[in-house]
């Protein structure tokens, strides 16, 4: 009886840890996206400060490729949208995972209680009986 509970406890614990890891991964991914978001915002602003007389280059691998200023602005804007979309996606994912981890935590807690009860009873059963009456 106690062993069964113990085993269940273990499996639940593992699942919980797994979910926690996923949560932290999504968190870090989201933070990266946020950094990219701010960077792209700065690029967009700086592009506005320039005029078409300046040539804009994009670094693709080892090559600097000439770009049109307007094209560059459009590209950066699109990238920004993409990043915000990704962030939102990660947000929902994160919330979902939080919820699941919460559930697992509760299950764990209840299992722990059971386990302790199972542990406690065999040991103190006899002394308890007389006092209960």
């Amino acid at each position: 009886m106690a062993e069964a509970i113990q085993r269940k406890l273990q499996s639940e614990l593992e699942k919980y840890q797994q979910i926690q890891k996923d949560v932290s991964k999504s968190m870090s991914a989201r933070q990266k996206l946020e950094a990219q978001l701010t960077e792209n915002n700065i690029v967009k602003e700086e592009l506005y400060l320039l005029d078409s007389q300046n040539t804009v280059y994009k670094l693709i691998g080892p090559v600097l490729v000439k770009q049109d200023l307007d094209e560059a602005k459009a590209t950066v804007a699109k990238r920004l949208e993409y990043i915000t979309g990704e962030i939102q996606r990660y947000e929902t994912l994160l919330k979902e995972m939080e919820r699941k981890s919460e559930q697992h935590r509760e299950v764990l807690a209840s299992l722990q209680q059971e386990y302790q009860r199972a542990q406690g009873l065999p040991v103190g059963k006899l002394p308890l009986w007389p006092t209960a009456i």
Partner: protein
């Protein structure tokens, strides 16, 4: 069950842990701040370099070859820079344009720095609070000393300052002394020792306290300012003068004297009859003052926009503010009467109909006089308003004055529109002299009760009446901004009659 009960032993540990976390955040913030400041310095040196770079067409430099070697060489095209904009984007620009970009980036850095500094300060303060909290909980008993530094200028009076009928009389001080004696005697009024004047003063005080109590019961709880009126009325009572004349320009001195003893009385001692005042003080100043010599919290009072409440006929109160902004700031004394007090303080933005009244004020006799809705019921207002703040008389004054104005005046209707209409009918028989000055009512006065006109007092029983004798009184000629339509007990009436 896993023991989740927090014993007293856990509390210090918890506090320790909290402090630890605070400190952690603060150190993190500090390190980040140093990092960003380094960036800022880098940008500044870059700007310097950009300044001097285009000075020459080419520079002789030692060009780094790999990580270990240098080669003599020339730096050419000194004005042409390829700037990394971020995210693998580059732009060719001149030195000046590059400077603009650098400025823009520095702005970002400064923003980040500001945020970090704010966070750090925030957490430092939090740490301070937890320490204080700890001290408090460990300190003896439930008493905490909360101190607030109140400047003379800051204590705001709502409404008008009252001037004694007899400026030369000094009943107040005596009264104050008397009160302190009362304190010593554990709150009992020692009538035997009082002279007659003081006796009357004492009676006034008690009456006022009663009124305050009634008002308090009547006032809405959200109107925290309500207490101010009562307190202000308590202030007025303190002056212990027979007639309460509202003086717009205030008399400061008397009130100050009243204020000080109030504060003293409040300190540490709660008296039955003074308790209200204590609480009023408390609410006004938003600080309790208990002299207990225990853990001290220093509180600083934030001046809130003063609100003026106008009693409508239905015993509802409207927030009406902004009436005496100038006066308020010029002579900030203790807050004066609330209901019907006119303390202003709000900014000129219109978000509710009441704001319109606030914003569109007429300047009459050098004072901003708010326009009143023609639908506003006046007589009932006055009667309902139990508070005897002098400002109410001014309010009344305006209303009457307004009544003399064009009826086509249509502002946003007040909530008591319906009241106003009925009231208007009642008052229609009174002819008003519509003159530019909003002064005392002139014209026929219909007295429904045989009240002695010389006595400027009202009785509660006849709501519509109080206005009339008052008007007459004013018509007789007090130029000063008027009697508050206050209820006066028969004692007072008798006394006034004596005088």
């Amino acid at each position: 069950m896993a023991g989740k009960v927090k014993t007293t032993n856990d509390l210090p540990k918890g506090v320790e842990r909290l402090k630890e976390e605070h400190r952690q955040v603060v150190t993190d913030c500090k390190s980040q701040i140093t990092h960003w400041r380094k960036m800022e310095k880098d940008y500044e040196s870059l700007q310097e370099r950009l300044d001097t770079l285009p000075d020459k067409l080419s520079y002789d430099i030692m060009v780094p070859f790999g990580p270990l070697a240098f080669m003599p060489g020339k730096l050419i095209h000194t004005n042409e820079l390829t700037v990394l904009l971020g995210d693998n984007w580059f732009a060719k620009c001149s030195a000046k344009q590059a400077q603009t970009l650098v400025e823009h980036r520095k702005k970002h850095v400064n923003n980040k720095l500001d945020d970090l500094r704010k966070v750090m300060k925030n957490f430092q303060e939090r740490a301070g609070f937890t320490e204080d909290l700890e001290k408090m909980t460990s300190a003896t008993g439930d008493f905490v000393d909360i101190r607030e530094e109140v400047g003379e200028e800051e204590a705001a009076t709502k409404g008008k300052h009252r001037m004694a009928h007899k400026p030369n009389s000094k009943p107040k001080e005596e009264y104050v002394v008397q009160l302190e004696e009362d304190i010593r005697e554990d709150g009992e009024s020692n009538k035997g020792v009082l002279s007659e004047d003081e006796l009357w003063a004492r009676l006034d005080e008690l009456e006022r306290l009663e009124e305050e109590q009634d008002e308090r019961d009547r006032l809405d709880s959200p109107d925290t300012n309500g207490e101010d009126t009562t307190s202000s009325s308590s202030e007025e009572e303190k002056e212990a003068d027979a007639g309460k004349v509202a003086q717009v320009n205030g008399h400061g001195q008397c009130e100050d004297q009243a204020i000080a003893p109030d504060v003293d009385q409040v300190n540490g001692i709660s008296r039955p009859q003074l308790d209200e005042e204590g609480t009023e003080e408390q609410e006004e100043e938003e600080a309790e003052e208990e002299v207990s010599g225990l853990p001290t919290i220093y509180f600083s009072h934030t001046v809130e926009p003063k609100k003026v409440r106008i009693n409508t006929g239905k015993n509802t109160t409207l927030k009406f503010s902004d009436r005496k902004e100038q006066k308020q700031q010029g002579k900030r004394k203790k807050k004066n009467g609330k209901s019907n007090g006119h303390s202003i303080h709000e900014h000129h933005k219109i978000s509710t109909p009441a704001d319109i009244y606030r914003v569109f004020v007429d300047v009459v006799n050098g004072e901003p006089v708010p326009r009143k809705s023609i639908l506003k019921s006046r007589s009932r207002e006055n009667s309902v308003c139990s508070d005897t703040s002098e400002s109410s008389t001014a309010d009344f004054e305006e209303r009457r004055a307004f009544f003399g104005r064009t009826h086509s005046y249509d502002e946003a209707t007040h909530s008591d529109a319906s009241d106003g209409i009925t009231e208007e009918d009642g008052l229609s028989h009174i002819s008003l002299r519509p003159n530019g000055r909003f002064e005392a009512f002139s014209g026929t006065v219909v007295e429904k009760d045989p009240l002695p006109s010389s006595i400027p007092h009202l009785t509660i029983a006849t709501p519509a009446l109080p206005t009339i004798p008052e008007r007459k009184q004013e018509e007789v000629g007090s130029e000063v901004p008027q009697e508050p339509p206050k209820r006066v007990s028969k004692f007072k009436a008798a006394r006034l009659q004596q005088k």
